[in-house]
Symmetry: C2
Subunit: 583 residues, 2 copies
């Protein structure tokens, strides 16, 4: 051991103790006759003192030569500080150094190793190993570890068994794009990296394992949007002999446990909302319910006058922005420009100020009188002082636009408090969704999701109306988990594949092993997967996942620190029986 104590543990009770410490030079102050050095390690910072009157000249000289991020080892005695620092745990003491060894020198780091650094995103990613020395990143990694430990212990105590499923599996065209891995021993053949362990966990249920979980890397070769990673981590779970209610119970329990263990927050029973209700009320299947601004549908109270824009719209819908009636024309114009940005895509926005005197002033006063506008206020829940904003157009699109505006206003008005946690179950998702490109229905969750028994008859006549036994756990406006009760008999599974446009042969080729397994006594089962990266970030009070991943990739899927991906030797390609095909 290079140390007797770490840099975070010495206290006033340790005074006069001879100690050995090791760590990094965080900073040093040289007053000529005295040098102070802040010595840092993972556990904290301890102040070292070198003093002309008490320290040998040679060590004094050495101390003056220390640069930022030098790795040093010192021996010395703990003394009481003259001016105590209440901000750090070791702030009552300092160590008077009598021996100093430089274990490793350091170049000047390319950015400051401070909580607030001067380094931009790119340089921090390139030197990620230095970025990790900073508290915000280091603490995020420690926090992630704490979360996973809590998850593992909680589930293990409930008889869940963690099973490692394989990473080299089979490519299936359904779903997102696979990363593939050429097989050298089987020329012309390829493994795929799993997008999720879905079929394996179902096979474990067929295998009688009863309660499975796994914290596991998954892979999707998608064009990366901001804050998506080609490899990401799931808390993957599956249970047998259960119904939807049991799953919701267990994972509500897990989430409640995490909030309590980590934040000491007690949350009562999570509210539930159907998919339909979430879409109607928040325009979104993962609503942030920490704040209001619920949607008010205005068709009934706005389509009876001569305002053609509303009359021609499938949906007219508004929200009441609290205390925004006082917005200036300029502020409102900015909002209109905001919803018209291509990322949102509204064609315009109507507004109505609910004045403090009880009157209304709208941008469409030509068409609507005070009585009309009071009905808008009623539908949106607006009170005096609020600003009602209204969008119109095709239902789904308009809801999405208004939801974006609602979230934006939630952010601007500080209503999305990072330390407040509002979990929500969204249930009764549709089984299928129409895909314009391929002109067929796709599984909204995945093809193994069971339809609600009472809706199965609609599969032939109105497939879009069939509801699934599928559910999402939403936390603060983010989907942190989702799952379903699975199909467990071969006939229903075959029916699903048929409705998803698979021929019997295609279904057999791609999922034959699962359908075969269903012939040998598959139990009723279902499960859920949490996105660990996002869950951790949100529990950590943040919305970007990157600092909770030790070595993330950038939006081009590159690891700029190790410079991957990269070209490989021709001989490697040859061994794998593949060639480049670059045009």
């Amino acid at each position: 051991m290079y140390r007797s104590h770490n840099c975070g543990e010495l206290r006033i009770a340790d005074i006069n103790r001879e100690v050995t410490l090791a760590g990094w030079v965080q900073k040093s102050r040289d007053k000529g006759f005295m040098v102070w050095v802040d010595l840092r390690d993972r556990f904290g910072i301890t102040q070292l003192i070198f003093d002309e009157s008490r320290t040998s000249t040679s060590i004094m000289q050495q101390a003056k030569g220390l640069g930022r991020e030098f790795v040093i080892q010192i021996k010395g005695s703990v003394i009481e500080r003259e001016s105590k620092n209440k901000n750090i745990a070791t702030g009552d003491i300092e160590v008077l150094v009598n021996e100093l060894t430089v274990l490793n020198a350091s170049e000047i780091p390319p950015f400051t190793i401070e909580d607030e650094t001067d380094g931009g995103e790119d340089i921090r990613m390139k030197y990620r190993y230095l970025d990790i020395r900073r508290n915000p990143v280091k603490n995020s990694l420690l926090f992630r570890h704490k979360v996973t430990q809590e998850v593992r212990n909680y589930l293990s105590n409930l008889d869940f068994c963690e099973v490692e499923t394989p990473y080299l599996i089979k490519s299936t065209p359904e779903g997102a794009r696979d990363f593939i891995v050429p097989s050298r021993m089987n020329p012309g053949q390829f493994y795929a990296l799993p997008q999720s362990p879905q079929t394996f966990k179902q096979l474990l249920m067929v295998g009688g394992l009863d309660r499975y979980f796994q914290i596991v890397k998954c892979f999707r070769d998608e064009d990366l949007r901001a804050d998506r990673q080609p490899e990401f981590t799931q808390i993957d779970c599956e249970m047998s002999f259960i119904e939807q209610e049991d799953i919701l119970d267990v994972f509500e329990g897990l989430t409640r446990h995490l909030l309590k263990a980590i934040h000491k927050i007690e949350v009562s029973k999570f509210p539930r909302m159907t998919f339909d209700e979430a879409m109607r009320t928040y325009g979104n299947d993962k609503p942030d319910i920490r704040f209001g601004m619920k949607f008010g549908e205005l068709n009934a109270v706005a389509q009876h006058k001569d305002f053609a824009v509303f009359n021609n719209a499938e949906l007219v819908v508004g929200i009441a922005i609290p205390q925004a009636a006082s917005y200036t024309r300029k502020q409102i114009d900015e909002l209109i420009e905001w919803v018209k940005r291509p990322q949102v895509g509204a064609s315009g926005m109507v507004y109505c100020k609910c004045e403090l005197d009880g009157s209304y002033k709208s941008s469409v006063d030509k068409f609507y009188d005070q009585a009309d506008l009071s009905k808008w206020a009623e539908a949106t829940g607006a009170v005096a002082g609020d600003l009602i904003v209204v969008l119109s157009g095709p239902t789904l699109k308009t809801r999405t636009q208004l939801s974006a505006l609602r979230m934006e206003m939630g952010n601007r008005l500080g209503l999305r408090k990072p330390n407040e946690f509002a979990p929500l179950w969204v249930i009764d998702f549709p089984l299928l969704e129409w895909d314009e490109d391929s002109a067929r229905y796709h599984a909204m969750h995945h093809p193994f999701t069971s339809p609600k028994q009472e809706d199965i008859h609609l599969l032939d006549t109105n497939p879009g109306k069939v509801r699934a036994n599928a559910y999402d756990l939403v936390l603060n406006g983010n989907e942190i988990g989702g799952g379903s009760i699975r199909i467990h008999d071969k006939e229903t599974q075959a029916l699903m594949f048929k409705h998803l446009g698979f021929t019997a042969d295609e279904a057999q080729e791609q999922f034959g092993f699962l359908m075969n397994a269903f012939q040998y006594g598959a139990p009723p089962h279902g499960g859920l997967a949490f996105g660990l990266d996002r869950l951790t970030a949100i529990l950590g009070g943040q919305e970007t996942i990157r600092d909770f991943i030790a070595f993330p990739k950038n939006n081009a899927g590159r690891d700029v620190m190790i410079d991957a991906p990269s070209p490989i030797a021709g001989s490697q390609l040859e061994e794998l029986s593949i060639a480049l095909d670059l045009d």
Copy 2:
């Protein structure tokens, strides 16, 4: 929930309780007026009883139709069994059924779902989801979970932080062959799957994380020997500001904890042996020290006579097989044939019986008298009744052959007891080993291993003699873990790369990110990795790892259950800018 209790928990205290159970039909006995069904789930077996006089006719009929592995749900009342079964936990009771639902029928399974099955390896792998229903496999998976939970909790309590390192990394020609992954977004470029997180864990140390671990999948595209898997799991660990002794301490503690938590076995301080001593004494760097038969080197006492075979040999070495002096000529011939098999490769074997009367009878009596042979006995530790067997030839080869024979005899004589655990540290491994094929030295451990300070001067003159700060943990004749103190300064790392035959450019291209990192204050660090598959198997008292892996691959790297790897669509290849190149 489909059940009020699982199939392993009802006891005599539950008599008269109305219960709901669900599970698989393990077997049924139909006596006409009475039917017994063993209902099985992960937790155990509960006997169900259907009785003409107490069960409705329709349910009686249903019960008679139940086949093996049908999934059923029943309601009934717990009653005391007439003839109790002491072999199972629920053996005092049975459940008189009054309601029966078949949740899923089953085809007749392709092999019996019993502890001893009639299914061969191939069919069990194809139907692995059925194999997992068998206790030996199911219990192995539960056991593995218990081991990993113990490891995680133990290390977490010591401030180790589990960090997920990336799976899509950079290919490096050093070491075994990489699996590679074409990058669609970076045409012509490839990721590699990690052979181990080695460089990342070192970067985490540079990043100040201090104590890291991870239970993580690793990948090697090797031609598979029996009991090797292309994907395998490591318990990967690294520590900063430590010396070799600290690492041995921590992981000896972990191993001791596992033996205690799992087997209630207390092991005192682990013995240590240098690599040289292990090779000299056991012909092997991972000796099984549960039994003796230590090597006796006989050069001094066998090369003074006219026996040319010995005189021309670099090494003459023997072991004493306990109580084998009574072996018949036939038995001894069989041993000679055994060492001459191509897998062992000895050219012959000399033997000497230590008779009970104190005399010696050898196959080379022509050359050696009783006094000579008594020295053989002394060197090998043979006592009256033992059989000394002697091999000779080039040192390394001969040791390897005799080690194989020693292990074989250990097995045959029942000296390798699965429930006895004999851990051992092997230390002071050589830094480099000569590779005949490439005619250069390779890193024995890996290129980041630090040489012993006092041996560095030998790097230029006698590289093969340089010892490393490298160590293996051996358990019952298996290497279950290995590691080293790493190089932490750029100069030594550059020196190593030079001695491994890298040009400065090659070293920079492949490991530049690590050497760059060393410029910014790398702490002294080192670590170790356990092979989890093997560790679990050995702790489970077995030597084959396959049953401790949920979905293993066969020796051709295939998953025969899901039929992977497999061909993929031409459009997938095209998107990835690669083509097949099959000749």
